[in-house]
């Protein structure tokens, strides 16, 4: 069983997060960069599975600048067997569709039985990469799962929404995305940290991927045509307006209830 986990670095949600108003990109200097929490949960699943099932290989795959090396290495410290980082200047500011194409090409290059990603990142919050990959690679997708069950040939899982719980099953190879219902990630232990630097860490450029391999959909990656989504304008969020103050003249309860109702908070 080969499980590829899509890992992504994101600004630490505990810190201040800012976008550069000039480029529209996340300001990397402004906050600590860490593995996105949802990605850590995806990794935790894969690593815990590998611990219980001999012969499982866990590969961490990321498309990022090489500044993300330390974060990707954390995946190795947690227990992934090897890492692949796709990095290329031409990918700066890549939009969702270009990112998906590159990841699809990388996944084809690596080979996989199961691809696991987070349902959406805490920074971009697009949440469409797994679906886009399913399309490009022509494999089944099961997104936003609360739990999964993996056998040698199938993956099944549940998706819990407000009103219903859906049970899903797909044949492998497949791609899934996990939600915060998945277990919190472990802290890498000291031995894991020490072994991380000895594990294979493959760095690929677009040229490496274009050469011989395709994006899975039968076409080669056309960087010149990308990115296709263009940011036209960016502006800072307006400062928060003062809140509503409810003064209690005996009817505060009613006023509060009305406020909550009006704003559809109940």
């Amino acid at each position: 069983m080969k499980i590829v986990v899509l890992v992504k670095e994101a600004p630490d949600t505990y810190g201040e997060r800012t976008l550069s108003l000039e480029t529209g990109l996340a300001d990397r200097e402004a906050s600590d960069r860490v593995l996105d929490e949802i990605v850590e949960r995806a990794l935790e699943y894969a690593i815990a599975y590998a611990e219980k099932n001999e012969g499982t290989e866990v590969v961490a795959l990321s498309m990022a600048t090489d500044a993300a090396t330390a974060s990707v290495r954390k995946a190795l410290a947690m227990g992934a067997d090897r890492a692949v980082l796709v990095t290329d200047e031409a990918l700066a500011g890549a939009d969702v569709s270009l990112t998906a194409e590159v990841l699809a090409a990388a996944l084809t290059h690596i080979g996989f039985d199961l691809v696991v990603g987070g349902d959406q990142s805490t920074d971009g919050a697009g949440g469409v990469i797994p679906a886009a990959l399913a399309e490009l690679l022509d494999i089944p997708q099961m997104t936003k799962l609360a739990s999964i069950e993996l056998t040698d040939t199938t993956v099944s899982g549940t998706r819990a929404t407000d009103r219903v719980t859906t049970h899903l099953r797909a044949d492998l190879p497949a791609i899934i995305s996990v939600t915060e219902r998945f277990a919190e990630a472990r802290f890498p232990n000291f031995k894991g940290i020490m072994s991380a630097k000895k594990k294979p860490f493959e760095v690929l450029t677009l040229a490496d991927l274009a050469g011989g391999s395709d994006n899975g959909a039968g076409t080669t990656i056309d960087v010149l045509s990308a990115p296709r989504a263009i940011m036209t304008e960016i502006s800072a969020k307006p400062a928060r307006a003062a809140g509503v103050k409810v003064v209690d003249d005996g009817d505060a309860g009613t006023l509060l209830a009305e406020f909550l109702k009006k704003n559809q908070l109940v």
């Binding site: 802290f187 890498p188 000291f190 940290i193 020490m194």
Partner: protein, 391 residues
């Protein structure tokens, strides 16, 4: 200054280890501090996490299943561990420190083989049983004795204040043996806690460090084999005790620095939020003066511990430096914690604020592994001895 560079853990790896530990402490341990204090217990889950992390064997050689940090790295780790409740560190303190070091430094290969991997993984908890009534500062005065039997030893005596005794799997127990010349010499034995004749008393009600347990340990004709004698032959015990304690002093000093840093951070946070009149109290210069004194203590302490660790590691000072660092840092953290309470005003006397706990917790650091008085005696007597030796 000659510095050993052959640590088993590369500088690069150590940066990541320290960073990982910092995240673990801040993300996992600090949120549990209140629970540890109120229940007087380390949650089982946290114990398991600490085991998995490698914390029970960070000071033990890789050859024996530990992480193998060198002394400077251990000191840095201690500073980080000192940032949270000292009870947390105490849980694995004896494995890495005073108890584990006796086996690693003085045990036979068979003893290392038998115990160290289990100690490093946390599967076995090792306690260091030296202190007795009337034999704390003066360990040479212990009255526990080990008598030779046909196939081993019979140990009898009373130990007190033994850290981790209630959870111990083995005791590193010190006892007197009459040698061939008729002299009583301190020896040390590895005694499994389940051996008949051992009783561990109820755990002591302490001033601080709730969650870390100490107790009396009674040895009543406890029979162990010849292989229980550390080092396999007599003449090792006293040296093992002193060596293990000396190295441990660097760790205690590091913990003190960590606690002082925490008090400073808590004090600074409080001083920049709490107001009197229209001002945050940090605006008042008398409060700033306390913050300044805290910072000076932390900075001086940190530099001193790391310096002592370097000198210990390169062999240039294994005796005076650790005592200097322990004496200064543990007294420093007492003053820093006192100022921390003062900066918090009434809040500093209330359990909800970490400084209240730290004020009590750090008091122990001046007592165990050699009181402040004993450190002064070690430093002073060695200075005079060295000078006299120079002639």
């Amino acid at each position: 200054m000659p510095e050993s560079t052959d640590s088993a853990v590369s500088a690069e790896d150590f940066v990541d280890i320290l960073d990982g530990l910092r995240q673990f402490i801040r993300g996992k341990v600090i949120p549990l501090e209140r629970e540890i204090a109120e229940k007087d217990e380390i949650p089982q889950e946290l114990r398991e996490l600490a085991k998995d992390m490698g914390l029970f064997g960070y000071a033990i050689d890789q050859e024996w299943g530990g992480i193998g940090l060198d002394v400077v790295q251990q000191a840095e780790l201690a500073i980080e561990l000192g940032y949270t409740s000292l009870a947390f560190r105490s849980m694995f303190g004896t494995n890495n420190g005073i108890a584990g070091q006796v086996i690693e430094g003085f045990g036979t290969d068979a003893q290392k083989e038998q115990w160290l991997a289990a100690i490093a993984s946390g599967e076995v908890v090792a306690s260091f049983a030296l202190t007795e009534t009337g034999a704390g500062s003066s360990p040479a005065s212990i009255r526990t004795k080990a008598v030779k039997t046909a196939d081993g030893w019979s140990i009898s005596g009373e130990k007190r204040y033994i850290t981790n005794a209630p959870s111990a799997d083995i005791f590193i127990a010190f006892a007197k043996v009459i040698n061939d010349a008729g002299e009583a010499k301190v020896e040390v034995f590895i005694v499994p806690s389940k051996t008949p004749g051992i009783t561990v008393g109820p755990h002591d009600k302490k001033m601080g460090q709730a969650g870390a347990w100490t107790a009396d340990v009674h040895f009543d004709e406890v029979k162990v084999g010849d292989d229980a004698l550390v080092g396999g032959k007599p003449g090792i015990g006293y040296k093992a005790a002193l060596t293990s304690l000396a190295k441990g002093r660097i760790t205690i000093a590091g913990l003190a620095v960590g606690q002082a840093q925490r008090v400073l951070d808590e004090s600074l946070a409080y001083a920049t939020i709490a107001k009197q009149g229209d001002h945050v109290i940090g605006d008042y210069q008398l409060v700033q003066a306390m913050l300044a004194d805290q910072q000076v203590g932390v900075s001086a302490g940190r530099a001193l511990v790391l310096d002592a660790a370097r000198n210990y590691m390169n062999g240039s000072d294994t005796r005076v430096g650790p005592s200097v660092a322990k004496l200064y840092c543990t007294e420093m953290v007492g003053r820093v914690a006192d100022m921390g309470v003062q900066i918090h005003g009434g809040a500093g006397y209330i359990r909800d604020y970490p400084v209240e706990q730290i004020y009590r917790d750090v008091r122990l650091l001046r007592l165990y592994e050699g009181t402040s008085e004993i450190q002064r005696l070690i430093i002073g007597s060695n200075l005079v001895k060295q000078k006299l030796a120079e002639g």
